[in-house]
């Protein structure tokens, strides 16, 4: 009896080793992509992370979309008209646009989606994306019902959106997943939760989601452009450790990675050559000042001195070393319709900057006997620690500042920054939500809750307001650039460097084009079968 039990156990082990499920989802070609974190939700209006947006771009589609190299093109809307004053947009939804259950995508679906987005009961993170639609601000504040939003379905396939003021980049906002359409939900709350897996109007549909591990997508045959979709199935593998992701890429389990570990970057670059894709990205790493308390309150010379004493070239070459660009402006280069002005000292040599910095430091009232005493806060991360150490060394060497580094867990740091009671200078980063300069400039307007430095400049705010009321793109750009010039003189922040997006992409993956938004829709990719 014992013997038989032993054999049974052994047989069970062998069976366990060999078994594998097969449910037809992965028939045909399968693209394996690395995803840095689990999406917190695949409900288009509830999602907020970049990773959720990446998956949503595969399973959903907005009125507009992007080409592989980042050009705006029609999506679910095949054409549109904009009124002369720039306030009324009328979209014609494609007749061929369909949900994955075969039902057509209607204008009413977009109305529902946008109303959900501003509905305070949903508490959507990106509600302010559409703040310029008529009544949006009132609805978000709970002062008007969602039905009063300035969107209307004129008929099944005609959608009209009315804005309270002209927004030249409005079309670009309509590629954002938060503006994706939604189907009416039955009164049952349970099925509302299940919407994540059921319906999609994008090139793929979600077939299964193992939280923390894997999302499996399969092509949506009802998608209007399904003929152009090359890959049958997409697997998004959730891999939070960048080194683990690199290992899996090396083992041949992934076609593309979501990121590349910062350690050993030079070795990766040498080994992978063209497979490593490093591109400019709309994101900035900066040091923010707390302007509401000493030592930086009312001390613009000190702030400028600290900014000038940092050798940004050394930071990007020796400290981060992944191809980042030193930041001498607040808005990253590569933003559409914008030429960022530079800090006044951008073209000087570092020695010249150091000399001016030292004189500004003295003007601010500090010296070797009376050094500035500063706390620099940063979040726990190998890269950030190195940057903080480098900045501390530079400030100490050039100016003689007494810098204490304080390392905090990310949520703790965020909490401290928001309360603004104990922070002095802190590390921050900002990634653009859409391709326009305002996504960076708005951060520093006086009434923005995300304005963590407490910067309040009437000049800056009024320039931003005037820019917002311009219908002409050229005049708007002038106002925005002037606003940034004001900002750069005041130094509420120290721009350090602009981010790059980094991915490893196998040679057999075709159609991956580098673009400044780092959008890589799976429907544009194909696998070279010959490999």
């Amino acid at each position: 009896m014992k013997r038989i039990r032993c054999w049974l156990l052994a047989a069970a082990c062998l069976a366990l080793l060999g078994c594998g499920a097969s449910d037809g989802v992965d028939n045909g070609s399968v693209l394996h992509r690395g995803l840095a974190t689990d999406p917190e939700s695949l409900d288009p209006q509830l999602a907020r992370s970049m990773q959720a947006a990446n998956v949503l771009r595969d399973i959903g589609e907005g009125l507009l979309s992007y080409t592989p190299d980042g050009q705006l093109v029609p999506g679910s809307a095949e054409s549109w008209q904009i009124s002369a004053d720039g306030l009324v947009y009328t979209f014609n939804i494609r007749a061929a646009a369909r949900w994955s259950d075969g039902n057509p995508v209607t204008a009413e679906n977009f109305v529902i989606g946008l109303r959900r987005l501003v509905d305070p009961a949903i508490a959507a993170f990106y509600a302010s994306t559409v703040i310029d639609i008529v009544n949006a601000a009132a609805i978000i504040a709970g002062e008007a019902p969602a039905e009063t939003l300035g969107v209307a379905a004129l008929d099944t396939r005609t959608l009209q959106i009315s804005l309270s003021r002209p927004v030249p980049y409005f079309l670009r906002l309509l590629t954002h997943p938060s503006t994706f359409p939604a189907r009416p939900t039955p009164a049952n709350a349970e099925s509302d939760k299940r919407r994540r897996s059921l319906l999609s109007n994008g090139a793929y549909r979600l077939m299964s989601w193992e939280p923390g591990s894997l999302l499996r997508l399969r092509r949506n045959e009802y998608y209007w452009n399904d003929a152009a979709t090359a890959v049958d199935a997409v697997h998004h593998h959730v891999i939070t450790e960048e080194t683990a992701e690199l290992n899996r890429y090396r083992a041949g389990e992934l076609h593309t990675t979501g990121n590349v570990p910062p350690e050993n970057f030079a070795a990766v670059r040498k080994r992978y050559g063209d497979e490593l894709r490093v591109t400019q990205y709309l994101g900035i790493d900066y040091l923010g000042f707390n302007l509401s308390r000493p030592p930086f309150k009312d001390k613009p010379e000190l702030r400028q001195a600290l900014s000038m004493a940092i050798d940004r070239e050394i930071l990007v070459e020796k400290i981060t070393g992944r191809g980042e660009a030193p930041a001498y402006s607040w808005v990253p280069p590569g933003t559409s319709n914008y030429e960022p002005p530079h800090l006044s000292y951008a073209d000087l040599s570092q020695d010249e900057r150091n000399i001016i910095a030292q004189s500004l430091y003295e003007q601010a009232g500090f010296s070797a006997d009376n050094p500035a005493v500063i706390e620099l806060r940063y979040n726990t991360s190998a890269t950030q620690q190195r940057v903080a150490l480098a900045v501390q060394a530079m400030w100490s060497d050039v100016l003689g500042v007494d810098v204490t580094l304080i390392n905090e867990e990310f949520q703790v740091l965020l909490s401290n920054i928001r309360e603004a009671k104990i922070t002095e200078v802190f590390r921050g980063s900002w990634i653009g939500d859409y391709d326009d300069a305002t996504t960076f400039l708005k951060l520093l307007t006086g009434d923005n809750p995300s304005n963590v430095s407490g910067y309040k400049s009437e000049t800056f705010d009024s320039l931003m307001q005037r820019a917002a009321s311009q219908a002409d793109a050229g005049r708007r750009r002038l106002f925005l650039e002037e606003a940034e010039r004001v900002l750069l003189v005041d130094h509420p922040v120290i721009p350090l460097y602009f981010y790059v997006s980094k991915h490893l992409v196998r040679p057999e993956v075709k159609g991956w084009e580098d673009n400044v938004l780092d959008y890589h829709y799976s429907q544009h990719l194909s696998l070279d079968a010959a490999r």
Binding site: L16, L17, S41, R48, P120, T240, A244, E253
Partner: protein, 307 residues
């Protein structure tokens, strides 16, 4: 024994309650909340979210609400995973973690006891020294060093095994994580077994059995193994705890959607309900495992009586 079991289970309830209270206080004491991000929510939206999740109520009220849901089996919604409840997340993750943990313990016990016994039988020989050297290595090198090394060697260089969990559904994806989890436990169990086996093998009744002509295998199987197991069984309690905590690292490295990953992620994301739910699950498991270990004593050693 049934009475003993019942008494132990009832006594566990106040312990669990204390654990829940402490965990609740701790997660809420950490600065930062589940909805903090660099992109600060507009105040109206933040107020709406907090009201939706009852985070604006005073703490005792939140705790009472949590307890009343708990007795109804509702662990609450996850603050981060807005599409899933905590029960759904744990129900998905627990089987994976249990599978990994039990396979690792099984491997550890079988290999550890085997190696320890062989080393005890060949005491002070080359075999003994080699086995003990491996054991020392297994104890000294941490899991987060061994696991990536295993991945680099067996998955990346040799391509024998999958490097991650999600790439395949075959059982081979279990091998590397189980081995990585089991290695330190193999080492400890081997050392424990060797020491206690040496002790047992030196006793009088073993000498008698040998004198009666019983072969080595029979002596081990029928006379020496059970008494030698007592220290190993005592170690099972801490071993299971070690496997639980070690599994967090292993899950991160292999991308396994187990309870450990959600625990750490939940703590970092301030996902209060998820963390509390997992704490309750862990605490219950540890209480049950300890009870099991105590019962096992009685099974192995008939001299043990329960008070």
């Amino acid at each position: 024994m049934a009475q003993y079991t019942l008494r132990r289970l009832l006594g566990a309830i106040p312990t669990l309650l204390l654990v829940i209270v402490l965990a609740f206080l701790l997660v809420h004491a950490a600065p930062g909340g589940p909805f903090d991000a660099e992109r600060v929510l507009p105040p109206e939206i933040e107020a709406n979210i907090k009201a939706f999740y009852h985070l604006d109520e005073p703490l005792p009220q939140q705790f009472a609400r949590y307890l009343s849901n708990l007795v109804r089996g509702d662990l609450g919604p996850s603050y981060r995973y807005r599409d899933y409840t905590v029960s759904e997340l744990i129900a998905g993750a627990l089987p994976v973690s249990i599978l990994l943990g039990s396979l690792a313990m099984l491997l550890a016990v079988i290999v550890g006891i085997g190696a320890g016994t062989v080393a005890a039988l060949r005491q002070n020989s080359v075999v003994d020294r080699v086995v003990m050297a491996f054991a020392m290595v297994g104890i000294s090198i941490p899991v987060f060093v061994i696991a990536p090394l295993l991945v680099l060697l067996l998955a990346v260089k040799l391509n024998w095994l999958p490097a991650g969990w999600s790439g395949t559904t075959s059982g081979t994806r279990l091998l590397l994580p189980v081995i990585a989890l089991a290695l330190p436990q193999i080492a400890y169990i081997a050392r424990l077994t060797r020491a206690s086996m040496i002790d047992v093998l030196a006793s009088a009744y073993i000498r008698t059995a040998r004198a009666q002509g019983l072969g080595t295998f029979a002596i081990i199987r029928y006379h020496a193994l059970k008494p030698a197991m007592m220290p190993v069984i005592s170690y099972m309690g801490p071993a299971i705890a070690a496997v639980l905590t070690g599994s967090v690292v292993v899950e991160q490295i292999f991308g396994i959607p187990g309870v450990g990953q959600f625990f750490v992620g939940g703590a970092l994301n301030r996902d209060y309900t998820l963390v509390l739910g997992i704490v309750i699950v862990y605490a219950t498991m540890i209480v049950l495992m300890n009870l099991l270990v105590d019962i096992l004593y009685g099974v192995i050693d008939p001299r043990v009586r329960y008070q």
